[in-house]
Symmetry: C2
Subunit: 298 residues, 2 copies
């Protein structure tokens, strides 16, 4: 009897006792909501520079209490999720580092990892762990009010341990994302940055350049963009993304982004040669290979 | 009384007496359905190499009778719509030219115009007019059964007269597309080919090259395409288009496609320089201009 009670008490203990979320927007707010819904957290403290956004998050039950001061907000937290723009992550970690409880686990949601993870690992005291993370999820909306518990359900979250990572801390971060409904994939930071450069950053660079190119083309003094139909609009949707966020990504993942841009330029140059040569069979092969690859990821 | 009767008889005369549609697929079949629905045609003859497709079109009431021989099918038609792949249009026109009734109007639905229109104009006898057309509409399906009357409703149709075009023939083609529900824009053939190169052909070249580039990239022996998420799949949807059709477009609109590819490569190169230089303000400006252009065509 007694051991059963202890066992059930252990089982019902939430994964996280006090969760501090720095940046209670779409990403941070949805993480808080999902963990609350899963019963994986006892208490949630929200930290945000925007007092109105914090009040809204408390009214919506996303957080239990709000705090504009990160140093104060993370006190006593055993799990800290830094959900701020990728260029601000290291600065936030530097700010909270002296105030973290021993044994605390810090993770982030930034879309670039190699530099950020190295910086954050170096900033934290030995008793505190940093584990990088990157949930592949989002919407075009932002702010606490836009967050929802199901954002991560069935979506991939890439977790990027390093040789320095504490195994228990890694397990806790993985468990938290799984509790939020995500499918966790672990990979090293360098590979992560190339994966996202290829499947996300490169397409954005291409789309931004494409829209500017078409807008910049003049035929008899007239622009052509006004003739665009649904297909062009769909294809270039990602060129409507936030310029500040993409400036930061291009700056922070510069090496991998340049590598992918050059890699793409090589393929684009090959295709140009096929068009210039009027090489029918070569063009058909190029298009067919692309179609087959694309159809395989449908 | 008598003149009223004549007047009303004139008003109820359809725009087209006998319509011949060569190629009863999505494009040709939808044109036939739309004109029939609008009461703009008295009789519709379908011409197609595929006897089964013709039978299906007749069963569905798209055409009144079917014919596998183009020469026989166009006999007595006052309006001929050539809705075959763009590389086959001139060959079809050559085939039907000796069998067309004087005063007949021939038009097409091909997505490349300059070369095709010049060829077709040269092939027809003086008493028959060719007017190029290009409806900006379609779906991923093909065949008569996939056609529907509303395909062109509210969509743009570019009609491309030349200095040789007969004004009455041009007016009839414009009226037919308007009866089908399309919004007609007229422009010269050279401009047409640059417009579609910019807003359609270039995006396809970019998407095909992008998918092949990402598929061809190897990190530690492993491909990255399997990590792609919804965003990449949406962006590269057009790379699943028919390789044969795009081979033909790249061959037939070679000049304009190369011009646009080089124009794009210039912008992509500019962006690469901004990334390589870590030029934050320059990157933000590049992305912001693109976003503003993109948002303006929403």
């Amino acid at each position: 009897m007694r051991s059963d009670t202890i066992l059930s008490a252990e089982i019902s203990m939430p994964l996280i006792n006090r969760l501090a979320v720095v940046g209670v927007g779409l990403i941070g707010g949805s993480f808080a909501r999902a963990l609350r819904e899963a019963g994986a957290v006892a208490e949630i403290v929200g930290i945000d520079r925007d007092r109105e956004n914090l009040d809204r998050a408390r009214e919506l039950g996303i957080i239990d209490r709000g705090c504009v001061d990160p140093a104060e907000g993370v006190r006593g937290a055993d799990f800290v999720f830094v959900a701020v723009p990728v260029c601000a992550i290291a600065a936030v970690v530097a700010l909270i580092a002296p105030h973290l409880a021993p044994g605390a686990v810090v993770t982030d949601g930034g879309s670039v990892k190699e530099g950020v993870v190295a910086e954050c690992e170096a900033l934290l005291p030995p008793a505190v762990s940093f584990i990088g993370g990157h949930p592949i999820a989002g919407t075009e909306h932002s702010g606490a009010a836009a967050s929802f518990a199901a954002l991560y359900r069935g979506k991939r979250c890439i977790v990027t341990p390093t040789p320095r990572s504490d195994r228990a801390a890694l397990a806790k971060v993985v468990a938290a994302w799984e509790a939020a409904g995500a499918v966790v994939v672990t990979m090293d930071v360098a590979k992560h940055d190339r994966v996202v450069a290829a499947i996300s950053h490169l397409p954005h660079m291409v789309a931004y350049a494409l829209v500017n190119a078409v807008e910049g083309y003049r035929h008899g003094g007239e622009g052509l963009l006004r003739y665009s139909a649904g297909g062009f609009r769909d294809f270039t949707r990602i060129a409507s993304s936030d310029p500040i966020m993409w400036r930061d990504i291009a700056l922070m993942n510069k090496g991998a982004v340049l590598e992918m841009m050059d890699h793409f330029a090589g393929y684009f140059g090959t295709l140009r040669k096929l068009v210039a040569a009027g090489d029918g069979p070569g063009l058909e092969r190029f298009f067919r290979e692309s179609k087959e690859s694309r159809d395989a990821i449908l």
